[in-house]
Amino acid sequence: MSSSAGSSGGAIGRSLGSSLGRSLGTLDKLIEALRCLPGVGPKSAQRMAYHLLQRERLAAAQLADALSEALQRIVHCQRCNTFTEAEICDRCASGKRDPSLLCVVEMPVDLNMMEQTHAYMGLYYVLMGRLSPLDGIGPKELRLDRLIERATDGVVREVIMATNFTNEGEATAHYLSELLHARGLKVSRIARGLPVGGELEFTDAGTIAQAMFERRDY
């Protein structure tokens, strides 16, 4: 009874390719390898493999080269944890940024979005994920100790939590803020509410309700 209760949807269709138990041929190995990509199941992986071998042999070679080069050369920035080829990325090394501000985001795409705003001139820390207890992602998996070390370098005065407004993003922001508060840092959270130009009539009820719960003096 408890075994069926514990099964998860994530495993659906997982073992189609390799259920026969024999050793994999080269083609099967390629198909298996392609399945590591997000959203790629056995069918798509097979299609990709045939496509690469049949029609895009040159592109496939370039892909293989690019992948192995990236794996060799791209590392995590020692200061902000984003991907970089140098020990410290250009942004962290630039003297034009305010080093007393540290903005914590979940993923590099979030950092890019924040940069597009031109609203922020401090430095970043990229978590490369978020706390997700039910998926087994905790402080060890996220290496939160490294962020704490980074934020307590003596230069950072304020840490801005810009994790997503999902439950996981909120949990991450909450626990990080407790840990950083305890170390004497000022912690803030980006605001949430209606989008710019947002009209109540066309906004979803959940957003309006939370905006009401979190209303502020004006």
Partner: protein
Amino acid sequence: MSGRQRIDGQIAWVLHSYPYSETSLIIDVFSRDHGRLPLMARGARRPRSALRGVLQAFQPIELAWFGAGEVRTLAKAEWVGGMPLLGGAALMLGYYVNELLLKLLPREDAHPALFDAYAASLQALSRGEAHESRLRLFEKTLLKELGYGLALERDAASGEPVLAGRHYQYLIERGPVEASSLPDAPEGAPVRSIRGKTLLDLAQDDYSDAQTLVESKALMRRLINHHLAGQPLQSRRVFIELQEL
């Protein structure tokens, strides 16, 4: 079986969700009349999907679905609301409660009483009300609904009523036995004895005594671990690791 019937207007909560294919989501939901079941939410991960905000855990939603297989297809999801989102420490308690349901509640078993207890617990958590007693209340309802109801008011060996002033050992799947009547610690490591008062308070859902809270937490943890049969609770592990930082 039920065929390809469509279910409409079900109040439900998302317990957890898993990405599926490029843009879809499989949500594990707990509904009042159909229990816990997985639903495929097609396109829910598209950038502008209206479902993105609705299919979050810890908020009541109204669902419609159809299909006959193990994973039905979500037809409609509407925000119901009426409570603030969980924040801060309450979030971790919410994950704990959800994980208990994911690991202990069999699929497609309706448990309206447990559903109501779950909804009441989350409402209370969202208002920041006494967390500990809320959790004990929920755990007690969960065990009862799963058929492992607690025997609290009678000595399982003698059949006598439990007395507030005496001390008991709680034997799993049997109930409390007065500590002095047991010659040796049963089955392996000795278990700390529990006050008769705690058992009676627990039976009445009265958590005003601090010692009752401490002892009932330990008792519930033992019982829940027993029913989890060795499955670790991720939310508990993450919570402990966060405290250690």
